[in-house]
């Protein structure tokens, strides 16, 4: 049987994101480098690099999720 390989072990973000809830953030090495309400406005900011991770910070904190 093929051995299992662990991947993606790093935390996605190490910064406190609570002040960004409802906004889009650009994250590099686990830290927020920029934020904006609109994702395209965020992507086009000069401090945001092409390889930064961009995502929406959920408005709700750790509640049970029903999809």
């Amino acid at each position: 049987m093929a051995s299992t390989r662990e991947i993606q072990r790093e935390p996605i973000v190490t910064d406190d994101l609570s002040i960004y809830r409802g906004s889009w953030v650009a994250v590099r090495d686990g830290q927020v480098v920029a934020d904006a309400i609109d994702p395209v406005e965020l992507r086009d900011k000069p401090e945001v690099r092409e390889d930064d991770v961009i995502f929406l910070v959920p408005t709700e904190s750790g509640k049970t999720l029903m999809l």
Partner: protein, 137 residues
């Protein structure tokens, strides 16, 4: 036999409930690419993203069509991509998943769904161990 890849549950926001979240490199129809973190969700028929990703991926009114979706809380209208984007797990570059994501206004989190992502990867959830595995088919 294909090699399984194991991923520990993580929280998108520190302090939130850890979930089976996977980062995939997604290339939109505009050729731009970036990592999208989504929950691996067997309850999602297809992959679905918060609507804001539409413009980042190059989707416009010409490449989206309205679609009614159903969830536990009722139904809503979202927009289905008409042209496929590509998604790749960075550590498994040999497998490219074509996706026609559902772009949902008000959605908070991306979902990797069953009829696209899980056609290319077998998924096992180990809730007691707070991890999951994906195995290329």
């Amino acid at each position: 036999m294909a090699q399984p890849f194991s991923i520990a549950y993580r929280a998108l926001v520190p302090g939130d409930i850890p979930r089976p979240i996977l980062g995939m490199q997604v290339t939109g129809i505009n050729g731009r690419s970036g990592i999208i973190f989504g929950i691996v969700d067997s309850g999602a028929d297809t992959s679905a993203f918060p609507f804001g990703y539409a413009s980042l991926m190059g989707y416009t009114a010409q490449t989206l069509t309205p679609e009614t979706y159903q969830q536990v809380g009722g139904t809503g209208t979202a927009f289905r991509a008409l042209t496929a984007s590509q998604a790749v797990v960075p550590e498994i570059p040999t497998v490219t998943v074509p996706i026609l994501p559902l772009l949902v206004q008000g959605a908070q989190t991306a979902l990797w769904g069953r009829m696209d992502f899980m056609t290319y990867f077998d998924v096992a959830i180990y809730e007691a161990e707070q991890r999951f595995t994906i195995t290329p088919r």
